[in-house]
Symmetry: C2
Subunit: 147 residues, 2 copies
């Protein structure tokens, strides 16, 4: 039994690599870019969520909006780059979610270098973010986000 | 990358070991017991379902009732016992679903021996089936099934 491969399989089904984009007056160009890695699970079988948290040695577990699920989440860019991303580079996903992961990894590394604080950098990051999860819904369209 | 561990992780999230019980005049005691192993997936990322089918070298993939999902399913008791169950004995699930799997394996092996055709056997199989997926819904209650 190889726990790394197991967790990649689990995450391929149940996990999410997301980059949310929100208006923010505190941020240089008026937009906050927030990458997160999360896994949700019914609380009646929370074992795997606990194993994932231990394995990555970071992140938090909290009840999701609905009462019946628990959500494991890592938002820290440093922890994403140093603890989460290397795992999925060693144990790649087999579904189309791998493409999202690769974009996600690129965005997180750019953010760790502070590239979101340059006009060119934030534009590139937004472009990559809009290539992710194409079937998902976004709060703002590409056209609404002016830098 | 260990594909066996990966698939167990995926199935721990997305798979189902089920034993359905239906009225049937064709069966000796008036009830049909049908074990199945299934994994559902949005059809926009069907890669893992295909890998699972290849790995187990049995089962079928078909669109589920809703148009947007594909379902991989194995219903043959012989294939469950010879191809599916050994995999999960070598690569156990880490969540509470492992308990369902163990009951499922016991039921499938009893059925391969034809135990559902004796009164004592079918009663024991039904008892085990009612211990499975306790949070799920059942068409018939234990009391409705008279043998």
């Amino acid at each position: 039994m190889d726990i790394g491969s197991y967790l990649s399989g689990y995450v391929d089904g149940e996990g999410c690599f997301c980059v949310s984009i929100n208006k923010s007056y505190r941020h240089k160009f008026g937009w906050e870019i927030r990458p997160s890695f999360s896994v949700s699970q019914n609380s009646d079988r929370a074992e795997v969520i606990e194993i994932i948290k231990q394995h990555f040695a970071c992140g938090t577990i909290r009840p999701d909006r609905s009462d019946k699920t628990l959500k494991y989440e890592v938002r820290s860019v440093v922890e994403l780059v140093e603890k989460v991303i290397p795992h999925f580079e060693e144990n790649p996903l087999l579904s189309g979610k791998q493409r999202d992961f690769e974009l996600f990894a690129q965005i997180c590394r750019m953010m760790q270098q502070g590239e979101q604080r340059t006009k060119e950098g934030i534009k590139r990051i937004l472009e990559l973010a809009f290539e992710m999860n194409p079937s998902g819904s976004r709060k703002y369209t590409k056209e609404e986000i002016k830098i």
